[in-house]
């Protein structure tokens, strides 16, 4: 397994290997972790499709990847990602 690859279970109980790009926090939602991962899909020549979920540890050794349904929360996630990416550009 690659260093940043993990296996996730889909709702229909199929195993899927995904590449984790980032696990981060968002200002205002400090108690939550967010995970960004990729299936290697492209949107176009310059852009890659990524998936972002809330990473929640439901019990020791068991995680859930949940969708972000709250608009405010999504705006905050978007902002946090933009800041992260701009920091990366500065490196």
């Amino acid at each position: 397994m690659e260093d940043n690859k993990i296996t996730i279970t889909t709702p229909d109980n199929k195993q899927l290997e995904v590449e984790v790009l980032d696990i981060f926090n968002v200002e205002g939602y400090e108690g939550k972790d967010y995970i960004m991962y990729s299936l290697g899909e492209e949107v176009d020549e310059e852009n890659e499709k990524v998936y972002i979920s809330i990473l929640k540890e439901t019990s020791p050794g068991s995680f859930e990847l949940q969708g972000i349904t709250d608009d405010k929360e999504w705006d905050a996630v978007e902002k946090a990602l933009e800041e992260e990416l701009s920091e990366l550009d500065g490196e």
Binding site: I8, D12, N25, V43, E46, V50, G67, L85
Partner: protein, 331 residues
């Protein structure tokens, strides 16, 4: 034998320890004094900034009044007092002229009788002048007192503004200094490292044996490939450096596999995206996807079936909408 030292050595060590203690105490005291002085300096700097703002505003106010030739401040009461003041001032001028005239006449008086007569007139005029001067002084004080509330109000407003602006100026200066300081890049690097380590720690947890991660929902986004590359580098950076010594041979193979797997992604994906998804990609902002309940038919669009990697046939709960790229926009 280490315990068996001569008295001379013991005394020498005693002296050294004493010196060390004194030096340590003095350092602590000076550090404390330095902190106090720095605190005082900081407060002074803040105060100076506030006063500078106040100074500028007061100057501007005076210049403004001069340039606009403001002749009056206040309402009816002030107007009445201004009229009285003007009248008294005119009378004072007349009195002064009279007194000068009397003095000249006295100088050229032909007789002592005439001299005394003119002198009495001059004395009366001077008394009138003094009374008027007293009234004028009282009037000035009265006007200042009536104007004072307005002036105080303006002064309070100015002070508040000066305080806020001064604080802002002070903070801006400090930020600018920090930005230029050699510590700024170190701080930035530290922040970067902290984020990296945090992500690594979570990833390590996810990769532990027996750990399960179940997908309930996800939001889709499009990110510039350069940025995703940097993210990949960041999250694998630490692990690569740690594992390099142990797994040197395996690492190149793993990297090849990564690049091969990624290349296997069909390039024709965009064309396979349904019209629905294309329309949604045109939207300006990213919006959250609806979380779909688990269901039998997990794949929600034909495109996902076709475009998904052959080795990974599954898609994810279909997002309702997709947005434009984060980070750099495509040319």
């Amino acid at each position: 034998m280490a315990n068996d030292i001569n008295n001379s050595e013991a005394q020498y060590r005693y002296l050294l320890e004493n010196s060390l203690n004194k030096v340590t105490e003095e350092i602590a005291l000076l550090e404390l004094q330095k902190d106090t002085f720095l605190g005082i300096i900081k407060q002074n700097e803040k105060r100076i900034e506030k006063l500078r703002v106040e100074q500028t505003r007061l100057k501007q106010e005076l210049e403004n009044r001069n340039s606009k030739e403001i002749t009056k401040t206040g309402g009816k009461a002030e107007e009445v007092m201004d009229t009285v003041h003007t009248m008294l001032s005119e009378k004072q001028k007349v009195s002064s002229q009279k007194i000068n005239a009397y003095q000249q006449l006295m100088a050229s008086a032909s007789s002592s009788r005439r001299y005394r007569k003119i002198s009495r007139k001059m004395y009366r005029e001077k008394r009138k002048q003094l009374r008027r001067a007293k009234i004028i002084r009282i009037l000035d004080k009265l006007q200042r007192a009536t104007i004072m509330p307005k002036y105080l109000l303006d002064k309070i407003r100015l002070k508040r503004y000066a305080s806020a602006q001064g604080n802002y100026n002070f903070a801006s200066q400090k930020l600018a200094e920090l930005g230029q300081s050699p510590n700024a890049s170190a701080r930035k690097k530290e922040k970067y490292e902290q984020k990296k380590q945090k992500a690594q720690e979570k990833l390590r947890k996810l990769k532990e044996k027996g750990v399960t991660a179940k997908v309930i929902g996800a939001n889709v986004a499009a990110i510039n490939k350069e940025d995703t590359k940097k993210l990949r580098q960041r999250i694998t950076d630490q692990k690569t450096s740690e594992a390099e010594k142990e797994e040197k041979k395996e690492t190149p193979v793993q990297q090849e596999q990564t690049s091969e797997e990624i290349k296997q992604t069909p390039a024709a994906e965009p064309s396979n995206i349904t019209a629905n998804e294309e329309a949604k990609q045109e939207q300006d902002t990213l919006v959250p996807a609806e979380v779909m309940p688990p269901r039998d038919d997990f794949i929600t669009a034909e495109s996902l079936v076709e475009e998904s990697i052959k080795a990974m046939p599954l898609g994810l709960p279909a997002p309702e909408m997709e947005g434009p790229a984060l980070g750099k926009k495509a040319a």
